[in-house]
């Protein structure tokens, strides 16, 4: 009945399930349960099946130490033969005599030092498990004669070198468009599957747009492709879309999932993880995809741009990948996240499983985990100003740098932070199995400006521009205040005139005077505030000039007591300008206090008088100092600030040291090792991600786990071929996109119509005989709604849109704030990426999605605009409901409605018309049209990539 090795379980299970359901229906729920908790163990009458009952038990509980990975005490338990043979403590089993068998003794002993699995390595076996073992041994410990030992862990498929496979010769005249199809068709031959036909052109056009740029085509775009008579229309469209800037936004989001993009978040205003400016890294991803920066180069830059390109802040933005792991209080957590996700994201390896003990499945020892951590141990995060940062308080790129070249990494016993092995610091390195190339670490000298960012030549200009901007803001604030004041004065005059007409003029006089006095005082303060802003600008300007003059001097001249001219007078001027700000501020304080004194109650005047005296003194002192300037003036800020950490104690920041002149070179070494073409994992892991996102399912189901615990690839040769294409094209992402989307496999229909035989053999489409439909990602759904309504704003880059501005924003969803605490509600309904970890999106179908698509303001507003657009686009002469329905199908779903669909929609329109709520509407026709549009936005195929 079933031909494929992996599906019997599945189908059998479903059949079983049906039967079970039938039974359930007639029973009361209290009688139904799989087995009671107190179910007794097997009795001696029951035969024990070694392959089904014993081997899986030993595999899950014992093989990690007594199998191919390790042979502790010389013992292997992966065949009955090796159990009889035993290890250093003699045979593990004595067939026929359970009590004499070491395996039973060691799993049942009360002596914790003797017990297997050892404490901390695994839970003790349950009573039932021991009983099973006992019974199997008592029955003679039979096993198949040809039992094979566990395969060598080092020979696991993904650890072996990648060799470009030759393209198979396929006998049939299958749909072959490129080598991908030969690999796929090869499996068809084996399993007797037949490919489904190609999807219709309209489906293909929509598919390419949504997949490559993340929004459906406009009517014009669609028509252009649809009427293209060239045989190469498809390839031409692919080329256009791959250079379309929108492609970068769309695919950036995919990589942001995998690379764990998260905006800064914390508690209240306190930053606890990532950084508010980490969006610079997102912009770097978008820009890199736009210009097809090779994958390996992107990985290197994310891990070590600060070492490889220390002078290039644009590239250093890439290290936001590591800066994102910032954790204010816990270095351990920071390092754990870094090791775990560098492993999962780039290598498909779960290093994190070796934090507390040796890896149970892969040849990774516990020390390897800490060797990996040692690559990252020196780095911390700092924020460097960019030439474009006008607002100094919000500007800067969060980036990494090595803060210490000597900080040790200790192995933590059982992963416990308070239990480090101090006597034996761990050096950076890779697990032995991966030593295919040397991973030599060499410290490097940094260019001066990297560790003394205050020397960056453009930095002074940033300060100047920033001061100008600040002054402009102050000036416009002053103008506005003055204008308001003027209006108040006019109003007051008018009121005075009215009052003058009244008789009690004399009585009023004193109050009037007070009022106009108040306004005069206000005016004086506005003037003073502006004067301070102007003085601040002059201060920056003079200090910039003085800094330049001082820099121009040779080092010899600098050591002298007094600067030579003109640097000397520039310095004096800078000093004086700076002190002028102090004077004005002091003056402001004095005048404020004087006003306070005036309005204070008599009994409250004393303390104010006292503080006023102090303030006057300060003012006098400031004036004195200003008039006797020296060469000393404040620097303008270094251009880089370390992001505060509180590892030592939560009560205060950790001490800050100067930026070192060297970098450890550790991350560069790791980056080169990861991106070396001979690394067996990197390209395979990446190729799998490309495939999964284009095709709807990966070749290796466990996208972050390529180790022995993971799922083996369904098409190992195809995966290796794709990985080889990636590497040999110079790691060009666009090349791999093109290869995949131009394959016949990609172009097939998602329909299973007429494919009953395939469905029987491969119901899960594991062998790609059809295309797998994809429930669109949250971002694509929102972007598509905005695109269809014509409102979408394709502006790229910049600060993320904050929650409070998202409802009104028409920017693409990739530019919305996305952090642990803060995600858009509409997006979160559609399985939005977790900011913590997302190697694959879920594709749930839940009622909350129906509510979001039918009830949200976003969809409601869009339906109005779309209905308006459509109404306007139809020439009045043929203005029928049928035309409207057709146009709506074309715009929303890129398809022509069938006769039946037209009928269904017309029926619905008629029903809407007949409803009292609609009939009473000022524009009943329009309301029906909006309803129709909204319904189509709720269509399964609107949120599905067919």
């Amino acid at each position: 009945m079933i031909a494929l090795s992996d599906s019997p379980n599945n189908t059998r299970f479903r059949l079983l399930a049906r039967i079970v359901v039938a039974v359930f229906v007639v029973l009361s729920h209290r009688q139904i349960y799989a087995d009671a908790p107190s179910s007794t163990g097997p009795t001696t009458h029951q035969p024990v099946n070694y392959l089904q009952q014993i081997k899986p038990l030993l595999a899950s509980r014992c093989y990690a130490c007594h199998g191919s990975l390790k042979e502790k005490s010389g013992l292997r338990l992966d065949t009955a033969k090796s159990m009889k043979q035993g290890g250093e403590s003699g045979p593990a089993i004595v067939p026929g005599d359970a009590d004499a068998s070491e395996v039973i003794r060691r799993t049942t002993t009360d002596d914790i030092s003797e017990r297997m699995p050892p404490e901390g390595e695994g839970e003790p076996l349950t009573v039932q498990e021991v009983e099973l073992l006992r019974l199997w041994i008592a029955n003679g410990a039979s096993a198949p004669d040809d039992e094979k030992p566990e395969p060598d862990a080092r020979q696991h498929w993904s650890f072996r070198p990648r060799v470009r496979p030759s393209v198979p010769q396929v006998s049939r005249d299958a749909q072959l468009r490129n080598p991908i199809d030969s690999f796929i068709a090869d499996q068809f031959d084996r399993y007797g599957l037949v490919a489904q036909p190609e999807a219709s052109r309209s489906v293909l056009i929509r598919r390419l747009y949504l997949d490559l740029v993340g929004v459906p085509p406009t009517t014009d775009e669609f028509d252009r492709c649809f009427s293209d008579v060239s045989a190469q229309w498809y390839e031409a469209l692919v080329d256009r879309l791959l250079i379309d800037p929108r492609h970068a936004d769309r695919w950036a989001r995919h990589w942001m999932d995998i690379w764990r993009y998260a905006d800064g978040s914390g508690l209240g205003t306190e930053l606890r993880t990532s950084h508010d400016n980490v969006w610079h890294w997102r912009d770097w991803i978008v820009e890199s995809l736009k210009s097809d920066v090779p994958y390996d180069e992107m990985v290197r830059q994310m891990l070590a741009a600060d070492e490889i390109y220390p002078d290039d802040l644009q590239k250093v933005r890439a290290t936001g990948f590591l800066a994102r792991n910032y954790s204010r209080f816990s270095r351990t957590q920071w390092m754990e996240e870094t090791v775990e996700h560098v492993g999962k994201g780039f290598l498909g390896m779960t290093f994190n499983c070796a934090r507390c003990h040796d890896h149970k499945y892969d040849p990774i020892e516990q020390v390897d985990y800490y060797k990996m951590r040692a690559f990252f141990e020196p780095y911390l995060v700092r924020v460097d100003l960019l030439p474009s940062d006008v607002d100094l308080s919000r500007g800067g790129v969060p980036r990494v740098y090595d803060a210490s070249l000597t900080v040790p990494t200790y192995l933590l016993v059982r992963g416990q932070e308070n239990n480090p092995l101090r006597e034996n610091p761990v050096q950076p390195g890779v697990p032995r199995i991966f030593e295919f190339m040397t991973c030599a670490v060499e410290p490097l000298q940094l260019p001066t400006e990297a560790y003394q960012p205050e020397r960056r030549p453009w930095l002074l200009d940033v300060h100047l521009q920033s001061a100008k901007a600040k002054l402009a803001t102050a000036e416009s604030a002053a103008r506005q205040a003055q204008q308001e004041l003027a209006e108040k004065k006019v109003k007051q005059k008018a009121e005075e005139n009215i009052e003058k007409k009244a008789e009690k003029r004399a009585e009023k006089e004193s109050t009037d005077e007070n009022k106009s006095n108040d306004l005069d005082v206000e005016e004086a303060f506005i003037g003073l505030r502006l004067a301070i802003a102007q003085a601040e600008f002059v201060s920056v300007e003079r200090r910039v000039a003085a800094t330049i003059a001082r820099k121009a001097l040779s080092s010899g001249e600098l050591t002298e007591g007094i600067l030579p001219e003109p640097a000397h007078s520039q310095a004096l001027a800078a000093c004086q300008a700076e002190r002028q700000v102090t004077v004005l501020q002091a003056q402001y304080a004095v005048e404020e206090a004087e006003q306070k004194l005036k309005s204070a109650e008599p009994d409250k005047k004393k303390p104010i008088e006292e503080s006023l005296a102090t303030l006057r003194e300060s003012l006098a002192k400031a004036i004195l100092e200003r008039d006797q300037p020296t060469e000393q003036f404040s620097g303008l800020g270094g251009g880089a600030t370390r992001v505060e950490t509180r590892f030592i104690n939560n009560q205060g920041p950790d001490p800050v040291e100067e930026f070192p002149t060297q970098s450890s070179g550790r991350r560069t070494a790791l980056a080169r090792w990861i991106t070396d073409p001979t690394n067996p994992l990197t390209a395979r892991v990446a190729a799998n991600h490309f495939w999964a996102r284009h095709m709807g399912a990966p070749l290796v189901a466990t996208t972050f786990e390529f180790g022995r615990k993971g799922t083996p690839p369904s098409h190992p040769e195809l995966l290796d071929w794709l990985a080889s294409e990636l590497v040999e094209s110079g790691w060009s992402m666009k090349h791999l996109h093109r290869m995949i989307v131009t394959s016949a496999a990609y172009r097939r229909t998602t329909s299973v119509a007429g494919a009953q035989a395939n469905l029987q053999k491969d119901p899960d489409n594991r062998y790609w005989w059809r295309r797998t439909p994809i429930r669109l990602e949250s971002q694509v759904i929102r972007d598509s709604i905005l695109a269809i309504s014509g409102e979408i704003d394709f502006t790229q880059g910049g600060q993320p849109i904050a929650s409070e501005n998202q409802a009104a924003s028409t920017r693409r969803s990739v530019y919305f704030v996305h952090s642990g605490n803060d995600r858009n509600l509409f997006l979160s309904m559609f399985d939005d990426a977790s900011a913590i970890e997302c190697y694959r999106r879920d594709e749930s179908i839940v009622p909350q999605q129906a509510l979001a698509l039918s009830n949200s303001r976003l969809v409601y507003d869009a339906s109005l605009r779309i209905a308006e657009r459509l109404t306007a686009s139809i020439p009045p002469a043929e203005h029928t409901e049928t035309d409207f329905i057709r146009a709506a199908f074309r715009l929303v779903l890129n398809t022509e409605p069938s006769r039946e669909e037209l009928l269904a929609c017309s029926d619905a329109m008629a029903t809407w018309h007949s409803l009292p709520d609609v009939a009473q509407d000022a524009r009943p026709d329009f309301r029906c049209r909006c309803n129709l549009v909204r319904t189509l936005l709720n269509d399964n195929d609107f949120v599905t990539l067919r």
Partner: protein, 488 residues
């Protein structure tokens, strides 16, 4: 049992889940796992299969009302009175006969997220801020801040020997998932229950979260998938659900036509795309959405409750109106077959019970807000017989220090705290476990937070080891051990 609940119980087995969704029907929350697994062909997962929605053994309870006090309730001033701290008030712990509680070995369990955060031992003993007395036939001592709960003490099992490892408010997450904040994100108990058990009512979400949710992991489902996240509800019949009402004045009748059209179009699409499980799931999800839109406001419409009931829950008292409304809603949800209801009390910052200063005023106010509604809930459930199959849990993330913080507060204290459970086959009028004389350490029958999870799962008929997900290794401590001593 009344008529309505009989009908409910019969429906349980009729709604199978997940593994065979495509064949027989759709669980309320859809088909995440079903679809994903279908795609991957279950190739390498051996004998693993997703839960069927059936319990593994005969359940004693069907529903859970999970009351969580955000911020950390003082154990000494609630359910574990300690006269010794009054006796030695003002003395340093080292001057008392109980100095050994600060033995570093005994303090080793704690894991600090932020170092120096609340780790300074609060040495000077701070006296009890409230009296306590014995209640009920069991004679269990309860502080005078909880008279309504105390009145029901003979329905309750108190566990006085809880401990946890996080001394930060990440312990809120820890209480729900069993894992420390530093370990990453994991499903909460509600997520597991939702994943493991089928529906009791197809018109209502089976996992609901009410009240301010401050803890760090806001996704209950975590790696089980978003379908197992709690559905957050506001107890406001006008606006209970996100996107719960059409915008722009679209009438319900219009929406009905719209949903019918969605369904009809999907049916037509089925000609081109036959046997598409997603399409079927989507039709089902629209039907459910439409029902939910109406059923939830109906549950939250209390007009059929008597004035007496409302008064019992304190709906006419400003200080407990909010929590009382939430608990009355919880009772109505349980009545209608909702599986798991989380009710959080005290949002804002780290949680309202976080009495670093002014403990007396703080706990007085908070207990006033929750005590009467909880007493009403217990009595209400007991009277209708629902308490027999509903577990009510009262919990918090950790205790508070016996020593003073500042002049009048208590700090975080992970070494000992109290929780209690009632109903669903839990013993009535029992105290289990004990702390030392100062309430500093749990010393007798110590329980880590997952023992609570294990106890609840046991009562619901679930074996947590049978619903594990491949590739997500759980340790013994994640599963916990049922507290058999409090199970009837």
């Amino acid at each position: 049992m009344n008529e309505k609940r009989h009908a409910m119980a019969r429906r349980v087995p009729a709604v199978p889940r997940r593994a065979f969704l495509a064949d027989v029907g759709w669980g309320f929350t859809g088909l995440v796992m079903g679809a994903m697994l279908q795609r991957e062909g279950r190739a390498n997962v051996g004998a693993w299969a997703p839960p069927t929605g059936q319990p593994h053994f005969a359940p004693k309870a069907k529903s859970v009302i999970w009351l969580f006090m955000n911020g950390g309730v003082s154990q000494m001033e609630s359910f574990d009175p300690k006269p010794m701290i009054t006796k030695y008030a003002g003395k340093s712990i080292s001057e008392t006969p109980f100095a050994d509680v600060q033995n570093p070995k005994k303090l080793a369990d704690v894991r600090e997220f932020a170092k120096g955060q609340n780790t300074t031992q609060r040495n000077t003993l701070y006296p009890l801020q409230i009296g306590f007395r014995k209640h009920g036939e069991s004679g269990i001592e309860v502080s005078d801040w909880f008279p309504h709960i105390a009145r029901n003490i003979d329905k309750i099992s108190i566990v006085r020997s809880m401990w946890t490892t996080d001394n930060d408010h990440g312990a809120q997450t820890q209480f729900h998932t069993g894992r420390h904040m530093l370990d990453g994100q994991f499903p909460t108990l509600g997520g597991w229950v939702h994943y493991g058990l089928g529906n009791l009512n197809d018109n209502l979400p089976q996992f609901i979260s009410i009240g301010a949710r401050e803890y760090w992991n806001r996704r209950d489902g975590s790696y089980l998938g978003p379908a197992h996240d709690a559905v957050p509800l506001r107890i406001d019949p006008e606006n209970p659900l996100d996107f719960g009402r059409p915008e722009g004045g679209v009438a319900i009748a219009e929406q009905q036509v719209s949903y019918d059209l969605v369904k009809r179009l999907s049916g037509l699409r089925g000609v081109e795309y036959p046997s598409d499980p997603a399409m079927a799931a989507r039709i089902a999800s629209y039907e459910l959405a439409f029902k939910m839109q109406h059923s939830i406001p109906r549950v939250l419409d209390f007009s059929d409750e008597t004035a007496e009931t409302k008064a019992k829950y304190g709906l006419d008292l400003p200080h407990c109106k909010e929590f009382g409304t939430q608990l009355l809603a919880a009772r109505r949800f349980v009545e209608r077959g909702v599986r798991f209801i989380q009710v959080q009390h005290g949002g804002g910052g780290a949680g309202q019970w976080d009495a670093h200063g002014g403990l007396k005023g703080n706990h007085e106010k908070n207990s006033l807000a929750v005590d009467q509604p909880i007493g009403a809930l217990l009595e209400d459930l007991d009277r209708s017989g629902l308490l027999d199959e509903t577990i009510v849990l009262f919990a918090t993330e950790f205790g508070r220090t016996p020593g003073a913080q500042g002049s009048d507060g208590r700090d975080h204290h992970p070494f000992a705290f109290s929780v209690w459970m009632a109903g669903g086959g839990i013993k009535r009028g029992v105290v289990h476990g004990a702390t030392d004389e100062l309430g500093f350490h749990a010393v007798e029958n110590r329980h880590y937070v997952t023992d609570i999870h294990a106890t609840i799962l046991q009562q619901l008929g679930l074996d947590s080891r049978k619903i594990e997900v491949p590739g997500r290794k759980r340790l013994a401590i994640d599963h916990g051990v049922p507290i058999t001593e409090i199970i009837a």
